[in-house]
Amino acid sequence: MIVMQAAILLFVGVAGTAVVFTRNPLNQVMGLTFYGLLMTLMFFIFQAPDVAFSQVVVGAVVLPLMVLLTLAKLKAKEQSKR
């Protein structure tokens, strides 16, 4: 159990760092989705099923979707400028 907990914490730390250092937003949003899923797993492991439920939908679906839609809009805008 301890090993699993330590491992998931380290994973979260590394994944969070990776999200920050991914400079291309489109790649970053993939990282963010993965990060959200990792957080969900972490919540399950640490006996927080209620939180995990919310996190899986918000962190792995709603938030990335909003970011993607924003990026789509930004790109469309940029193309129409050209």
Binding site: D50, F53, V62, L69, T70, A72, K73, A76
Partner: protein, 259 residues
Amino acid sequence: MNHRARTTLFIFGGLGFLCFYIWGLHGLPGFGHYPGPYGDILNSLSVYQRHATDVITAVNFDYRGFDTLGEEFILFTSVMGANLLLRKQKDDREELPPRDEAADRVVPPTSDAVRVTGLALVLPIVVFGLYTISHGQLTPGGGFQGGVILASMPLIIYLCGDYEAFEKVTSHVLSEIAEAIGAGGYAITGLIAFAFGLPYLTNFIPLGETGDVLSSGTIFVISVLTGIEVAAGLVVLMISFFRQALVYRKSGEESGGQQ
């Protein structure tokens, strides 16, 4: 400041802050040694006082229900705010016709298999969402979780390639009204307690049998209202963003998407 100076300033500040923060964290009792007493008291009281077996739901909707009220309104206000910021301006030039964001990329139309699987998922998701909301006081779940699950239903429909169907199931006006009802209902449920001479947000409904769906008094009511508010609020948000992006995924002639 240029990029270099800014980064240098931050490196010093950030390192200092990191050390300071860790210095403070060192005083914690250590991971896995929660000292209590708040959580322990609630763990021992909730089932007996509130007939709710999921203590988290009891905390969210009763013991600390006032926090949740504030937080519901954070959601409500943010949705209103996003609506305001994304509203159509008078001077907006007409957008280009809704085209995919990468017109040169050929994306195959959504296959029937995906559509069937997706649409088959819709019903179970709705049922699951409703179940999560209504059993919040018993098992993991409640208004938040069920609400976000319900809100993901229209998304599945969209991913199945049916933006039209998405628009049909998500009326913007209706969602906005539902959101206001959810948030306002929460505030009003609290006010009703005054009629019984009780403080704000006090339970005034019989508690029922522990373990029943209709047990735990106002927790159940507020949980349902929160479910409505969260689901409707997230749907309104997504509609606002969809309208901005205008990514139609009509099957056949104009297909595409980002994923």
